[in-house]
């Protein structure tokens, strides 16, 4: 790449100026170089890029690569293969190599790979996997998907608190061959109980005659492997650590949650929240089969249809109002949409706040009070806007009298303000209520809020129209 070419370039140009590693890797495999040369060149690339490049190779090219690399190198690459390709590539390895590759993987990655193979292959493989790997895989599989233990890796460095600095250093070098997560070294006492952590760079710069205990942060943060992810992920994030230890009930170290795991968990958790807000039962991706997409979306839609019928029958109670004064019907969608929008805003804010922090009763009250005020002020602003705009619109475009036009727009403005205030409160109180009774507020709140807000908006609007426009003004 020429220097001149990329000075003063835009972000997009920069991004496209980056080398296409996948292409390079594929062409290395296709080249006529000697196996040793090919292998040498391949190992200059990141495993993630090699894994991605497999997709653009033919079966025979991939098999050439499998033969060139040793088990260690292959298993590093297979840790990066995405779930859709796992079954295909694994089929191309013979059963012994499969078992060896899975045995070499980090246990959490191995669990992921096994989950994406068919039952028969999985059972065959587990038979052949080494004892250590099998134990680790069983450990991680023993946790539910929503327990933090299911996300941990057993790849960590653990030393005894009684070592000297020199011994600790030697132990680290020994364990570094097997474990990559070496930037934090965990310490256990003589009863195998977790008792703290040492940061690798402190160990590296320490004088050899210092006692090891000077380096140990004894009150290092930890989680229990059985804790719910929802309950501890925000807390884990705050420490900005390379890894956080996960303990069993007897305070023994089972595994660690690395920063990479945290990225994945945060991504998943927020993806779930996002999906829930959109009325999906869980996140979808591009490769999702049609049937599964339908299954993910249909449940909410059916519930929403049922709740929509409730709203419709309430609207039906105001049929006489509409029959006498059809013009009010035109603005029903406006009031309902606005109430819905405001409710969703409050819902989204409340769910994120409930997720992030443990609120005291006082803070909860403060949040409700604040959302109420936001709803009231926004409602006032929009109500006045509607009063002016809609009144003028009816007067000038529909040719109605000023009194009639502004009576109707006053009714719309007032209904809008009231509906927005109530929707804000409903959007805050409902998720709090679900949280209180231990139901995930992100799941349950959406449809209920839409329905309650629709009902509130309909009753407020048609109620006002009936009392003010028909009973008082006699239009």
């Amino acid at each position: 790449m020429e220097e001149k070419d990329i000075v003063n370039t835009t972000a997009e140009e920069l991004s496209s100026a980056k080398p296409d590693y996948e292409k390079e890797i594929a062409s290395i495999i296709r080249s006529n170089a000697s196996p040793a040369q090919i292998k040498d060149k391949l190992l200059d690339y990141h495993e993630n890029d090699i894994a991605a490049a497999l997709d653009s190779m033919s079966i025979s090219e991939r098999q050439r690569l499998y033969r060139l690399l040793n088990i260690d190198e292959l298993s590093d690459i297979f840790e990066y293969v995405d779930e859709d390709n796992i079954p295909t590539y694994f089929k191309e390895l013979d059963i012994k190599k499969k078992a060896a590759v899975v045995s070499e993987m980090d246990a959490d990655k191995a669990v992921f790979v096994l989950q994406h193979l068919d039952k028969k292959t999985r059972d065959d493989l587990i038979e052949l996997i080494g004892n250590d790997a099998r134990r680790d895989i069983a450990l991680i599989s023993s946790f539910d998907d929503d327990q933090i233990g299911s996300k941990m890796t057993t790849n960590f460095v653990l030393i005894h608190s009684t070592l000297t600095i020199k011994q600790a250093m030697r132990e680290l070098v020994n364990q570094a061959a097997e474990n990559d997560n070496i930037s934090t070294i965990y310490v256990e006492d003589e009863n195998d109980v977790f008792c703290g952590a040492i940061s690798l760079n402190e160990l590296i710069i320490a004088r050899a005659d210092m006692p090891l205990s000077d380096l140990i942060v004894t009150s290092y943060p930890f989680v229990y492997a059985k804790e719910d992810i929802d309950d501890c992920i925000e807390w884990i994030k705050d420490y900005s650590e390379d890894s956080i230890p996960a303990l069993d009930e007897n305070n023994r170290l089972l595994g660690v949650i690395t920063a990479q795991d945290i990225v994945k968990v945060v991504d998943d958790e927020m993806g779930e929240d996002y999906a829930m807000l959109a009325g999906l039962t869980s996140e979808e991706d591009l490769h999702e089969p049609l049937k599964q997409s339908i299954k993910k979306r249909l449940p909410w839609l059916i519930i929403l249809l049922g709740l929509g019928l409730v709203v419709s029958s309430v609207v039906g109670m105001f049929e006489t109002v509409v029959a006498q004064l059809t013009i009010v019907m035109c603005f029903q969608s406006l009031i309902l949409d606005m109430a819905g929008n405001v409710g969703t805003q409050s819902l989204a804010v409340t769910i994120r706040v409930l997720m992030d922090e443990d609120l005291t009763a006082r803070q909860k009250f403060g949040l409700v009070f604040k959302e109420g005020r936001v709803g009231l002020i926004n409602g006032l602003i929009l109500g006045i806007l509607s009063l002016v705009c809609i009144g003028s619109y009816i007067h000038f475009f529909k040719g109605a009298s000023i009194l009639f036009s502004f009576s109707i727009s006053l009714c719309i403005g007032a209904a809008l303000m009231l509906a927005m205030l109530i929707s804000s409160l409903v959007g805050t109180l409902i998720p709090m209520f679900f949280k209180k009774i231990h139901i995930d507020p992100a799941v349950a709140s959406g449809p209920l809020i839409t329905t309650v807000n629709d009902l509130v908006a309909v009753v407020t609007y048609y109620g006002l129209a009936w009392i003010f426009l028909i009973e008082i003004m006699h239009f």
Copy 2:
């Protein structure tokens, strides 16, 4: 903690069984022990816990802590202080100590702290900050908030490619005193151009007589500091690395994006998406002042009000239909809500897919086709459900004839199906269109989709009602 107490406990009990570090820290500061003892005990805790404990201390207790600890220790703690408390705690330090603490921080943290101080303090501080720190702070501040360079840290280990393994090890030990991110060691060539990375554990276990070049992954992934976060974050995530280097236009290493930075960026990006979907201009938290909350929500609401008026005037065109057959009006909210729900589902799926992957034209077409089929099938199912349920409801509860009841419910079912199909397509095409013309689809799509779907639903429903019920059936 007794072992027996926590065997067979629930996740919640486990989580509450954890020690309350903040309380412990506060009581250490309040104790009558000698300063040396207090300091010794304090340093056993994680900086994040000490930072959190500051909140429960009085000013004089905090000042005691500031006196006890040295600049290095204080700056580590201040890196964890949350934004709301930064101004308060900084006011309690004298100006020299302030400058020293900020100089010692990672540059990205220092930038964050400076952003949360008032302008006067900030300007005073920048005068007093050491040259190295000032240069790093200026570098990071030079990037826009949406460029990846604004999230990088200048805390990394960089060595020359010409070193031997032994020299590299010595260089690492030297730099480890200043830099914590040592698990990946970056390598530059004789022209200071970035040329690869070495993983620390490979360096540790390497034989001293190996050439250093054997350890260097020369095609290590990197980003340009000027790239947009949106464009590269998904890509960075895939590598699951402890850190990814950020280069300038001349391929010199400027900083690194650590896994901790990635956690924050992913959290922020998804939080933004979530907020956008809910019609907020950006994420809000508990401590947001009222005025700001209103400002974040009002813009969308005003736009939505304007668009709602457009829908209302289209509904107005069907006033005669409603005047003749008021019962159809009852189900308007149902059709509009359902079309809106389906549109939001498609929108959410499309935005996540567009965010995660670079789609080929073929994949885009596939996505539209799939969303269309999902919409059609769900529409068919719900349409048939409505036909049966609503027809029976009108017949049995409203006492209308079977012909009349099921004509109306047929019209509703058909409109529902059509509206759901079209809404799915609209929900997929609109974000794609915005992406194409380089407007963030998450920002712009929501209100437009609501409006288009409302219009589609209104026209389909009342149009069908008019043609079928009034013109053909003559009800």
